[in-house]
Amino acid sequence: MNKILITIDGRQLEAKPGQTILEVAKENGIYIPTLCYYAATRVVGACRVCVVEVENSRTLVASCAMPVSPGMVVKTDTPRVRESQKLVVELLWSAGDHNCLVCESNGQCELQDLIYWLKIEKPRFKIEAPGYPLEKTNTMIQRDLNKCVLCGRCIRACNEIQVNEVLDFFERGSKMKVGPAFDADYIDSNCVFCGACVDACPTGAIVNKQSRFEGRPWDLQKIRTTCGYCGVGCQMDLNVYDGKVVKVTGNKEYGTPNQGSLCVKGRFGMEFIHHPSRLKTPLIKQANGEFKEADWDEAYDFIAGKLKSIKKKHGADSLAGLSSARCTNEENYLFQKFMRTVIGTNNVDHCARL
């Protein structure tokens, strides 16, 4: 394959034809800030945060959209680049209500990070937030469009990754907004609450409502696991705070099979874990038909005694066991081993047929 030689910040780099400046920089550990760029979706080059200087080009170019060409000389860190980035970021800042004090995304916000990285004390423009009401009509996703930077990432995640085709831009100019058709609330649209837009949003404009006030990003411990609902086996992060799963997030870096996508069950269906009606002790039924709490030894003894006496009286094949798709491989293995060795029967099945 033919290679292209280019220069970024004085370093000679090899690139493949078709790669963008941003991709080559990333591969070589050169940081270019981005905002509207979102992997696995179309490049739109709209926010102008990723601009760089390219020799012989009059204007700054969006590095996410510009393919490399042989001999290209790129500078990512010039006063002109920084000035342009500051202008863009200050405009975004002043066009919204970015009050980090109460924002759920404080500490994991790409706008906040940009402001800090560009060392902006305060925007040069007056802050004029549009004054949209908070969307409170569903229990899963909260939207505060006053924090929207119109990057379009939620739209691309919804349309291009999930192909749910719910979100779009509408209106023009200063009234421009994102959302479902006819400016409907999520709950009144075809939204299927996959939450891809939550993961995609760089700011606090779209957040997981169920974890609101349930733990700061830096306090959350992320534990990678496999979703137990359907057979896709999505890879996901359980976000734990103070011994409690407070939310579920996708992670593109885990790759196959779901590349960071989840569905409503994986993302918002985990409340059962800490539900008060969970079983907490073994229960043994009394003669009057009521359950009585027991400890493990009592329960084991009761079961062991009964199993043994039934086996003795009626034979092993008068006993049967059913296991579950909700249990792990290790547990299913032990279950059939238990039935076949301890009990001595092949009467073991599970719910796959149902």
Partner: protein, 528 residues
């Protein structure tokens, strides 16, 4: 699945039969839609219901429920009569073609149109589209298997794939989509009455000898009973004791009255679960288990990928992971199981399960591995049957069409099919506790075609009583063209409208899967 989830996106043609994947496996649904929208794939949907995927389909075939076998035979009839089959592939890699051809010859598109209601022209178009594709992937789910002729149907889609040389190629294959988390793993691990782990038959002496050696006890040689057979035996009094781990029979089994009587008949019912389920209420002993977030282990997904489950939080109260409960009980009963961790159990599994031999926790820490994985240097298997089938040559099965066990008549004039909806899972024990799911889908709805509704005097959002030969349930009607005329749809997530009071426990003779997809029913307005 013979192939991998990621491959679906790059098929030229996707043939989705009896799978409402955007609701049952939404992440796979997105991949199908991406294939169509962004990679130019052509989608063929076969489903009586107007599921979300039909919007993306090049061709939507809408057969009468229970007629899949005839439809697939019709498609193969066209392929053979137009000489579109993969001749070299059929000659070199398969056997049984002539016998299959002889049966298929009877299924002309015109005759199949009569049986299925699908226009002959569409059958021809689907046949051409599928057969001429470079890479075509078949996806199917319970819409194919949950019939009294389910096994036939599964074999028949395999026939179709072999006929066109679509088995053993990337982005091709025959891909059953598993609806429940670790169904694949439960099967792989031998939670089946006829096989040990890795599908090693219990009746084969060599297999038994190996497991006897590994486990140190004599093992039974007779094939055991399947779930529905177990319930029947319990009903008759032949099964006296039942141990249920994480399964809610009182919602998921067909013909619930029968199940209830069977459970009440037991001398011992042990239920090990995370909630006091409908089934647990009948138990003599209930054991509190840990949820998936409270334990370590592995799940095997629908593409055979073994992935890690990790403990994130502690189980509530005295609850324990199922593996610890089983070890404790087994030890009490004189067969010590002393595993320090699930990874130790996996080390034992690897020794007796050839397809898992190369799978260690260390190797799957970052990315799961797809079995077969015969040793620790093996990368796992992306798709099956690459150079040969497991049995050598691929075997065509000649399959005739047998109508569903239960047919409509004057008294029960409609067909009821069952399935899931996006916001809920199986018997609803978990999703009904999710505020979001309940907000989006708070109660069971009976989907009825507006013309049927008119005929039987049913109003939208009013209660409707659905009656089969086995019982009746009442739920709210939802008038929608998603259901074809003559067929209503219900989900099985809600105990208030337990649809399995209605379903037929007639089993497919081989797979022993109940015929959930076809029951004859009548409907009437239930007032209020």
């Amino acid at each position: 699945m013979t192939n991998s989830i990621d491959e679906i996106e790059f098929a030229d043609v996707i043939f989705a039969i009896g799978t409402n994947t955007t609701e049952n496996h939404p992440v796979i649904g997105s991949k199908v839609k991406r294939a169509v929208r962004y990679h130019g794939a052509k989608l063929i949907v076969v489903d009586p219901r107007d599921i979300a995927l039909t919007k993306y389909a090049e061709l939507w075939l809408r057969p009468k429920a229970g007629t899949n076998v005839a439809l697939v035979n019709g498609i193969m009839n066209v392929i053979i009569s137009e000489d579109l089959q993969a001749k070299d592939y059929v000659k070199e890699r398969t056997e049984g073609f002539e016998a299959m051809k002889a049966v298929v010859a009877k299924f002309t598109p015109e005759r199949v149109e009569e049986i299925t209601g699908v226009p002959a022209a569409n059958i021809r178009a689907a046949a051409r589209l599928y057969a001429k594709a470079g890479k075509a992937s078949i996806l199917y789910c319970m819409g194919v298997t949950q019939h009294s002729t389910g096994t036939d149907s599964v074999k028949n889609v395999a026939n179709l794939a072999m006929l066109c040389g679509m088995m053993g190629i990337e982005s091709g294959g025959v891909n059953p989509l598993r609806g429940q988390g670790n169904v694949q793993g439960a099967c792989d691990m031998g939670c089946l009455p006829n096989v040990f782990p890795a599908y090693q038959n219990v009746t084969v002496d060599d297999n038994r000898a190996r497991f006897q050696k590994a486990w140190g006890v004599k093992l039974p040689a007779n094939v055991g009973l399947t779930i529905v057979e177990i319930m029947n035996a319990a009903h008759k009094g032949d099964i006296k004791g039942l141990y249920v781990m994480g399964e809610n029979l009182m919602m998921s089994d067909p013909d619930l009255h029968h199940v209830e009587e069977a459970l009440k008949n037991l001398d011992l019912l042990v239920v090990q679960d995370i909630f006091l389920t409908e089934t647990a209420k009948f138990a003599h002993v209930v054991l509190p288990a840990a949820s998936f977030a409270e334990k370590d282990g592995t799940f095997s997904n629908t593409e055979r990928r073994v992935q890690r489950v990790r403990k994130a939080v502690a189980p509530p109260g005295m609850a324990k992971p199922d593996w610890q409960i089983l070890s404790g009980l087994s030890t009490k009963m004189g067969y010590p199981m002393a595993y320090a961790s699930p990874s130790e159990i996996m080390d034992e599994i690897r020794k007796v399960t050839p397809s898992y031999a190369g799978i260690t926790y260390r190797r799957i820490e970052r990315r799961g591995i797809q079995w077969p994985c015969p040793n620790t240097d093996h990368p796992g298997t992306k798709y099956l049957h690459r150079d040969r089938f497991s049995r050598g040559l691929g075997l065509f099965s000649a399959i005739d069409y047998i109508p569903s066990a239960e047919q409509t008549d004057k008294e029960y004039p409609l067909i009821m099919t069952t399935g899931r909806i996006l916001y809920h899972y199986h018997t609803g024990t978990m999703t009904r506790l999710a505020r979001g799911s309940m907000e989006r889908y708070p109660e069971s709805l009976v989907e009825i075609n507006p013309r049927d509704a008119e005929r039987f005097g049913i109003e939208d959002e009013k209660l409707v009583k659905v009656t089969s030969r086995r019982g009746s349930v009442t739920a709210k009607a939802s008038l929608t063209d998603r259901s074809p005329e003559g067929t209503i749809f219900m989900n099985f997530h809600f105990r208030e409208a337990a649809v399995n009071l209605l379903t037929n426990s007639v089993l497919d003779p081989l797979a022993k899967i109940p015929e959930y997809k076809v029951s004859a029913v009548r409907i009437e307005a239930a007032g209020a």
